[in-house]
Amino acid sequence: MLKSKKIVVLGHFGVGKTSLIRRFVTDTFSDNYTVTIGVHITKKVVEISVDKTMSLILWDLEGTDDIASIRKAYLLGTHGAVFVFDISRPSTFQHLKEDLRIVTEQMPDIPLMVVGNKSDLAEESELKNRLQENSISVDFLTSAKMGTAVNELFLKLATLLSSDA
């Protein structure tokens, strides 16, 4: 039986939430920025193991610089969450700890992936330094543009969700 899981993707605006989902679902990318308002919902079926598939319902939320202001209704019934920041814009990770605290408070007991996106915009070593300076640890450094670590991210989350169920 096909299990479906709701995943919300959230973070500040312009960090690449829509682009990550787009890369994952249709394997495409655009340099143009179209602001998401409210929520867009898409689905992708993933194969977790040979005979096991899972349907991910991806909620691409409107970005906000105030994570506390995310509408609670969007988060109802969520199975997994992805918090995305933009490694090239400090304002999107300056208050990461506080942002993550708010997210886990509103959705306790679900797997949460912390993602630094746009990894193509910095050298790897420089990036690591930057994160270390801000004492930030991430689950994935992705690039929606280059496709780096995007599938891995969602697959990892799906795997976590399948062992949960």
């Binding site: 709701k6 409210g38 090239s88 814009r89 304002s91």
Partner: protein
């Protein structure tokens, strides 16, 4: 009757759907979408698939979802959905707000884009500043270290010049000296940036003739441009006050750096220098200075970078200069509370301009400055004696030479000899009876300060006491003190005005 009207004007924006607790559609008014009875609402759209958990809620529990994007047959609806739990199922009220949300999207788009753009611009500027600071401190230290070895190279080149050498060797020595000079100029520029950075440079507020300043530039650069086969077009706005309060020397540095830069990067066409009045208010005048060229141009992405030290749009070797001119101009303008503006197109040319706010004296105080009759006043001050005074001009810069010649010969009171090279000065001084020497303090070989010292140490009184007036472009107090200590009567700082020169000469000849 009323029922008919109700149907006609009923809300066409809102659809009511009622489903049972496992999501089967019991009833739908299909105002917006066709949702078949007995179908599963979960199949209608992905949104509802994640709603399951809500269905077990308490009776009358309401949940509102805003701004949900729903595609039906490739038509986009942006809707709000209210879900209310009832005893027998769940009531869903779907409200179509597509138009409303579309305009909200446009606003948010503009806002987000501008916030991000601002952040990235600030970041980029910080990065540039940081890089510039690092580079400058490095260069400062480095230049300082370079000074001593350079001094020895220069001194040894001098010694070498006195030895027996073949023509070929002399030629090589000439190149060596030229390179030394360039290196020295570069060090001076670098150190003057250091002065600005360290806040050791102060902007003066002294009355000076802005129009004279303009004429001086016009005169000098017409010749320079001609040398390179370029046209030099100047314009002066007659509404600008003739006299203003400001720092003439710094203004001169800024304008000449821009002009030199234009000359450097223009191979054909025209260089323009315009001075325009923006506005006059009370006793302040805002004046715009503009330098345009038909040269190489600067690409958009380098618009900021060209003001960084040692940056070059064109990395080719044959462009001379220190690469610091624009940086100095920019910093000096910052000190004056102004900013350099640039528009340019690659391959077409560049247009630099900046505004300076000058205080200017109201009419009565201008009267106090002797202008019109300065020449007569000067000639008068030389006394009844009608003989011509003999002046030796020691100056290697031909533009300054020409300017001085013009001014001095106009008075019809002087005979002027010229020496280019410090080494030749003694011969001239010994075999002529000069009344006065005008000497550049920064001559290439033996510099003016050294020559002055040597003359003052001369055993013959008629030579030893010849008044010497120094000319320099280096306005640092220590340089001026050096000149005066060596025995110069007075030091004129380039660019100076005719009055200043004539006054100094008259005083020295008394």
């Amino acid at each position: 009757m009323l029922r008919e009207y109700q149907e006609q004007y009923a809300n066409t924006n809102e659809q009511f759907v009622f489903v049972n607790k496992i999501g089967v559609v019991l009833e739908s008014d299909n105002v917006l979408f066709k949702i078949a009875k007995d179908s599963s609402i979960f199949d209608f759209h992905l949104f509802f698939e994640s709603l399951e958990s809500l269905f077990d809620g308490n009776e009358e529990e309401e949940t509102k979802f805003h701004c949900i994007h729903i595609y039906i047959d490739s038509d986009l609806y942006i809707v709000d959905i209210l879900a209310v739990v009832k005893r027998a199922g769940v009531l869903l009220i779907i409200k179509n707000l597509t138009d409303h949300y579309n305009s909200y999207q446009t606003i948010t788009q503009t806002r987000n884009e501008s916030v991000i753009k601002t952040e990235l611009t600030v970041l980029k500027n910080l990065e540039l500043q940081e890089r510039e600071r690092f580079k400058n401190s490095f260069i400062q230290n480095f230049s300082h270290e370079l000074r001593n070895p350079l001094m020895s190279i220069m001194a040894i080149s001098e010694l070498l010049a006195d030895t027996k050498m073949s023509n070929e060797q002399l030629q090589m020595l000439k190149f060596l000296k030229e390179s030394n000079m360039n290196l020295r100029l570069m060090l001076e520029d670098t150190l003057s940036i250091g002065m600005i950075d360290a806040g050791r440079l102060e902007i003066e507020k002294k009355l000076f003739g802005l129009q004279r300043f303009f004429e001086f530039i016009q005169f000098t650069y017409t010749a320079k441009a001609k040398n390179k086969g370029l046209k030099f077009v100047c314009s002066w706005d007659g509404k600008i006050p003739e006299f203003v309060e400001g720092d003439r020397l710094r203004l001169f540095q800024i304008v000449t750096n821009l002009l030199d830069n234009a000359l450097k990067y223009t191979e054909a066409g025209t260089i323009t220098f315009e001075v325009q009045l923006n506005q006059k208010r009370a006793n302040k005048a805002s004046v715009q200075f503009r330098v345009t060229d038909t040269g190489l141009g600067i690409s958009l992405e380098n618009k900021e970078a060209i003001f960084e030290s040692f940056f070059r749009e064109d990395a080719s070797e044959n462009i001379k200069g220190t690469g610091l001119g624009l940086t100095i101009a920019k910093r000096l303008l910052e000190l004056m509370g102004s900013k350099i503006q640039l528009t340019s197109e690659l391959g077409k040319g560049s247009d630099f301009y900046f505004d300076v706010l000058f205080k200017y004296p109201l009419l009565s105080s201008i009267e106090a400055i002797p202008r019109k009759n300065s020449q007569e006043a000067f000639i008068g001050s030389l006394g009844k004696e009608q003989r011509k005074f003999k002046i030796l001009l020691v100056e290697d810069d031909e533009y300054v030479q020409t300017t001085l010649f013009k001014i001095l010969l106009n008075t019809n009171r002087f005979k002027i000899d010229l020496a280019y090279d410090g080494a030749l000065v003694f011969q001239e001084v010994v075999s002529n009876n000069y009344d006065l020497i005008l000497m550049d303090a920064n001559l290439p070989n033996v510099d003016g300060i050294q020559i002055t010292k040597l003359i003052r140490d001369f055993p013959f009184k008629n030579i030893k006491d010849i008044p010497i007036i120094g000319i320099t472009a280096n306005a640092y107090q220590e340089n001026i003190d050096q000149c005066l200590n060596a025995g110069m009567r007075k030091v004129l700082i380039k660019p100076f005005e005719k009055e200043e020169l004539l006054k100094a000469i008259a005083k020295a000849l008394k």
